[in-house]
Structures are given as structure tokens and as C-alpha cells.
Symmetry: none
């Protein structure tokens, strides 16, 4: 099976919106060994969409479309589907029920345009949408599969996970070559250093493929290996993983899609420890990341966002003389913030951030990107200095990630300097 | 002139890298009134690239390619160009000079593969690259223009700004139609309701184009209008904007790319008001959004993330009896949290969130997605109930956005119920 992804939307052509949908779908199909040979973006224009469908159906047997299923005048995809398959729209009672339920839950009145969305092309099987009003469509014709989904990313993603991927897996069936992959997530080490530490890649990998996928939080290492025997593939991947861990294991915080906040959450839960945060420069981002994890109330006691010096003194009992002598962005204040939030909250651990995020706020000896992270538990109070870059948003994200990784290393007894 | 953008690279097809290049080029071309009718992504495969070039040259007269110009074995774009135009490679002394200068600056030795990059297709004019080793190519043939650039975003962007856009402007010449656009950002109103409230679109727009761009935070309305006289276009857009504002003005929080957190920041600054936040269910996200704005320390006094009831009582002076009677997720507690953080911090405004984000935590009478937002200033203490959905991350984002919009409406004296 080969795939062609068509993304529909003027806003993507015009560069207002990044095409995250094509990336998501491409990655998901790769995971089940379906190669994407092309993706395209076209506007909300019936004749162009029809052309695209025609062309795609000549070169592949799986066509995935997203976008243009909304309720307004500029959404034409459903009409293109009706035209392409020479079919008609019929009201689907299940979809109508879903739409009514959704509006009831949100305490809103169903409008006529929404009711119209319950009409689906006769030829299509419906992919139900629990998160929005536009249903997805699954169409099989002439040995080809057409999957049509809304452009709203989380609606499309939910349909991929619940319906599209399972169905494709079933159709692709057994007897296929198996692709096994494993993602190792690192943080706190630059791509080039990681590359150097891994040494000779041929020796390390012995046929397994390795891709370096860097982003602002770290570098993901994607291992993949294709073959016929699942057990062999798993063994081979495990051997390579072990060799990688022996070289850079301390920087690997998780596998797969696991987020750092989920990893530290699990560690805290296992150790029955409660944490409190004191954030200056991250402004609430560390707390936000920790509480993105469901169940975090079991270990996240509270947080303080103390942007002003007054708040640092008043709530966190930071010493005024220390502030005057070393400044708010200093090793000493980071430690006192961590200690202060720990003692005032009664939590087992205090974690603190202070730094200069930019674009303003730099001084002669304190450049933009300078950050201190403080950590305090019953046995140790410590802090560490970091130097990030010039971009405010990236600096906040990197600082929050570094704070959580500092916490991870403390919980696991890994030296922060290694 | 019409454009077709071809992005080349396996990493984009596989979803490892977002196609930011196509978005950038699309936006740049839109700004000089060259419509992009399609963008495509294909892998590093000579025959597929040739197909794509052939197809594109049949439907448009401007073809922009990026990617696949690097020095390694898996970069094939230059070969495809040679094949497509039936031309040959010749060494370009200017390019060779550029490459040598670049390596000297980086204190590195020029390798043979880099010297090979100085060979360019005979038919092409070179677009010099100051930031990397692969030159860009400008080819004119049969009244069509082909622009070939490296895939590294900042190298491509520099070429667009220095060479490609100026040349295209010159070729397109004067007397071209001008395209004017304006983006109005709404929040707190679903796409379908917005659509209905706008009424008859033909009457409203009178020739101006309108696109609805929804995301989890709200719906953007993009107006665009093409014509010959800049003043006329501006007047027409302003008229349409006024008509839209008369119908749904209260939901429009900003124009262009402006974020809600920047809008409320400006309002607070103008009024010389300081704010403090008390977050339960958003876990720090409101503080994080507010502090994403540079200079927010001038109006953001502090924040408290009080996940536990103990923290609500201790730090925010929420009444224990109220907590027992109404529960933490209630109108009463939201108001007391806002009042508490205002009075304990000495800020002018207190803003609070409490809710059930899911997937766990629901009770018989308090479903997932139930949220209360509290607001308190010197004159008024109030709270409002919201019902969001089932997804934890979306619920957090929607709650934080709703809290900031509640604040905006209070600052502007707009009733929250309209």
C-alpha cells in the first residue's frame, strides 16, 4: 500500500497555518509501514480538489484528505467528494445524534448549519467525531481507500487513533514485512556532542537505522529495523539500545512519546514525594507542564509565580540582603527560592527558576539567556547555572525543561554535570 | 503569475520535520500578489521530482523548489534539474569562492564534496548563498521561471529576501493588482454561531473575501481584497470591518497576529493596573501566557498555583466552610480565590481558575470540562461558569484563554454574557 496525503485549506497555502496534519499523518503511516510518496496542499476550490483526487487515485491506493469540512461557505471538500464519486448526500442519524450530544454538553443551541453537517456522501462509511461537528469519511472504491477527515488537528488525530490506523493495519494484514522502531528521548546534550559520543555508527547500529531528531527540548533518537521475525527485530533493537545507553544513558529520560513531566511525575509518585514550585522567569510554565499530567494532584502540592522581588521576599522568605547583594538572578536566590517554597508549603521538594528571558533585562554581567535552577529536599539544597539563547519563548521552554530534568537527575541520583 | 511550491525531503514526508519552508514562501508570494495554487512534498527521488517538475510546469508559470541540494548521497535535486532541462553541470568560480570564504570563516577545511557543490546547471543563473554551501538557482525557460533553493530555512529565507522577491516584483512590474488583507481575531464564540450572526455574507462583504480560520482558541476572520487603488482597498476593508464589528465586535479581541495575552497586557498597562493570578485547574498556564509577553513584569505582580484545598485555604484565605459546602470547583470558590489573591498580593486585580480538566475527577453533578473563572477588582467580584470538553490539554488551553478573555471584557466593560 502506498499513500498520498492531500491537505485542503487556503490558510496553509497562504502560510498562515503550518501543515502539522500532513506531518502527523505521515508519521502515523510510517509507523505501520505504509510509505507516503507525496503530500500536497491545495486551496478550498472544488475543481482543484477534483484534479488532485483524480491524480492521486492514479498513483497510489490510499488517499488521505484533511480539511474543508467545516460548516461555512468556504468549506467545499464534501461537495468535491460528492462530485468525484458521483454520489449524493444523505442525512446520517448517528452523526446528527453526535452533533446534538456535543452541543448539549457545551450547553449551546444546535444551528441549522450544524444540522447540515449530518448529511454525508452516500458512498461513505462515517468515522464518528466526538470532538467536533464534522464527521470523517471512509470510502472504498476500485481497490482504493479514501479517508477524509476534518482539518482541526485534534479531531483528525482522534480519528486516526481510534479508527483509521486500526482499520489500515487490519487491511494491510499479516505476511507484511514488519517494521519495528524505538524512540529514545534525550535532553541536556547537543546533537553534535551526542553524535560524537556515540562513536562509530556502523559498529553501534549493525544494520539498524538511526535518525537524529532535534527540537528545542532535546534530541530524539529514532531506531528502526525491518524484517520478518518480530522476536529477532526486538532483540536487535534492544541490543542497540543497550549500547547507546552505555554511552549516553544519563541523557535519556524516556522512550517513545513519553514526556519529561510524565517521567518525573512517575518518579515522584513511586517515592511518595510531593513537590512545590517557585517560578520567576518561567512564569508558571513548570507548573503548567507538571499539571498537564493527569493525576498530578497526587504529587504537585502548589506553585508560586513570583515575578517581583517583593513576592520573592514576602511569599518565599528570600533574604532581602541576598537579593541586594547577588541580584534576583543568582545561584543564591535560586536556592533560597527552592528552600522557601519547600518550607512554606510543607512539600518534600522545592524547585525554583530565575533567569533573564529577554529581549530586555540584560545587564553588563548578566546576559539574556542566563538562568539558575534551584532544588531543595530534606537532604540537599543546590542550584545550577545555565546559558540559553536570545529568544524569549525558547528560553522559557528550555528553562522549564532543564528544571524538570534537574529534578529527574536529583531523584535518580545522577550527577548534573555528567 | 501563478506559483507552485515543491518541497523535497524524506524527513518532511515522514513527519519528522514540519514544512515551514512552504508556509514561508507562500506568505511571501501572497504579499506580492502571486497566488500559490498548490504546494507539494516529495521524497529525494529523481524520477518523482522529474514528474513533479513536469506537472507543475504545465499548470503554472512560477515553480519554486526547496531542498535536496546538500552535499551527501541522498540529495538529488541538482541531478533532477540537469535531467529536466537536458543541460550539464559546469563549475562556477563565484560559487567556489563563496564556499571557500565560508569555510575560512568557520575555520574548517573545504572537502571535495563541497567543491563539487560549486558545479551548477549550465542553464541556471546562480543565487549566491552567504550562509551555506549550496547555491540557489534561477532558471527561465519557455516563459516560465524556476527557482531552486536549499532546504535549510534561514538559507532559503535569505535568498528569498535578497534576490527572489525583488526579481519577481520587477518582472511582475507595475500596474499589477494590489492585494490587501486584514485578520480579525475572535474568541468565545463558535464558528457556526459567528457565521450565523454575520448574516448575509454577500451584503456584508460586497466583494471582499472572507475566510474563517478556527483553532482551539477561537476563530480568525481573514479579509482580503484585490484591486488597483490602495486607498480604495483600504477603505473597502475598513467598511467591511466596521460592519463585522457592529455584529460581533465584542468577540474580536485583536487584529493581525496579536495574541490575547498581549492585548490584555496592553490594557493593564494603559490603566496602570497590576494583576495577580490564582490558578487551580490551569496549573500555571495563565501565568505562563501572561509572562510570554516581554515587559509583563510591569503589570504581572505574582501568581499562585493552588492545586490542593490546603493551599487554597492557607495562601488564598478561601473559607473552609465554603469549600466543604460548594466544593473546590464552584462559583463561590472561584470568587474567593480571585479575592484572596488580590488582597494577599496587593494587586489591583485578582483572576482565578478552578475546574475539572479530566480524564478523572468528575462527580455526579460536576462533569469533566466544568470550569469557573473568578475575577475581582476594587469595585466588583464576579465569576462565570464554562463547559468545555473531555480533553485535558484542550480544557487547560480553553480555560486559560477564557480567563484572559474574561479579564479583557472586564477591563473594557463588555458584558460576559453577550
Amino acid at each position: 500500500m502506498k499513500a498520498y496525503i492531500i491537505t485542503i485549506g487556503d490558510e496553509i497555502l497562504l502560510g498562515n497555518t503550518l501543515n502539522t496534519n500532513a506531518a502527523y499523518i505521515g508519521a502515523q503511516l510510517f509507523d505501520i509501514s505504509i510509505p507516503v510518496i507525496k503530500t500536497s496542499v491545495v486551496g478550498d476550490d472544488n475543481s482543484i480538489i477534483l484534479n488532485e483526487l483524480k491524480y492521486a487515485s492514479e498513483v497510489v491506493n490510499l488517499i488521505v484528505l484533511t480539511g474543508g469540512l467545516g460548516p461555512t461557505h468556504d468549506d467545499v471538500t464534501r461537495k468535491s467528494i460528492v462530485d468525484f464519486f458521483k454520489t449524493e448526500l444523505i442525512e446520517n442519524s448517528e452523526v446528527l445524534e453526535d452533533i446534538k450530544t456535543l452541543f448539549e454538553k457545551r450547553k449551546r443551541k444546535v444551528t441549522n448549519v450544524n444540522i447540515d453537517q449530518a448529511k454525508v456522501p452516500k458512498i461513505a462509511e462515517v468515522i464518528r467525531n466526538q470532538l467536533g461537528t464534522a464527521p470523517g469519511l471512509w470510502i472504498e472504491k476500485d481497490d482504493k481507500i479514501y479517508v477524509v477527515m476534518p482539518g482541526v488537528p485534534y479531531e483528525m488525530e482522534a480519528m486516526m487513533v481510534s479508527t483509521v490506523i486500526p482499520k489500515l493495519k487490519e487491511i494491510n494484514g499479516p505476511g507484511q514485512k514488519i517494521l519495528k522502531k524505538k524512540m529514545l528521548q534525550t535532553t541536556g546534550i547537543p546533537e553534535s556532542t551526542l553524535y560524537e559520543r556515540l562513536g562509530n555508527l556502523d559498529e553501534l547500529l549493525q544494520g539498524v537505522k538511526l535518525a537524529f531528531l532535534p527540537n528545542q527540548f532535546g534530541v530524539k533518537l529514532r531506531l528502526s529495523f525491518e524484517g520478518e521475525d518480530e522476536k529477532d527485530l526486538n532483540n536487535k533493537l534492544m541490543e542497540v539500545e543497550q549500547r547507546i545507553r552505555s554511552k549516553v544513558g544519563r541523557f535519556i529520560f524516556g522512550i517513545g512519546d513519553e514526556q519529561l513531566e510524565a517521567v518525573v511525575g512517575r518518579l515522584l509518585l513511586e517515592r511518595e514525594l510531593k513537590i512545590a514550585t517557585a517560578e520567576s522567569c518561567t512564569g508558571g510554565l513548570v507548573g503548567n507542564m507538571l499539571t498537564n499530567v493527569s493525576g498530578s494532584s497526587r504529587y504537585f502540592e502548589r506553585g508560586v509565580i513570583c515575578y517581583s522581588n517583593a513576592a520573592k521576599v514576602e511569599i518565599l522568605k528570600v533574604d532581602e540582603d541576598t537579593l541586594a547583594e547577588h541580584g534576583a538572578v543568582s545561584m543564591e536566590v535560586a536556592m533560597q527560592m527552592a528552600e522557601g517554597v519547600k518550607s512554606t508549603s510543607g512539600a518534600d521538594i522545592g524547585l525554583a527558576t530565575t533567569g533573564i528571558m529577554g529581549p530586555t533585562g540584560a545587564t553588563a554581567d548578566k546576559p539574556i539567556g542566563l538562568v539558575y535552577i534551584g532544588y531543595c529536599d530534606d537532604k540537599v539544597c543546590t542550584a545550577r547555572k545555565f546559558n540559553f539563547g536570545d529568544d524569549r519563548m525558547l528560553n522559557k521552554q528550555r528553562t522549564a525543561q532543564a528544571a524538570l530534568d534537574f529534578l529527574r537527575r536529583q531523584l535518580l541520583g545522577i550527577s548534573p554535570d555528567d
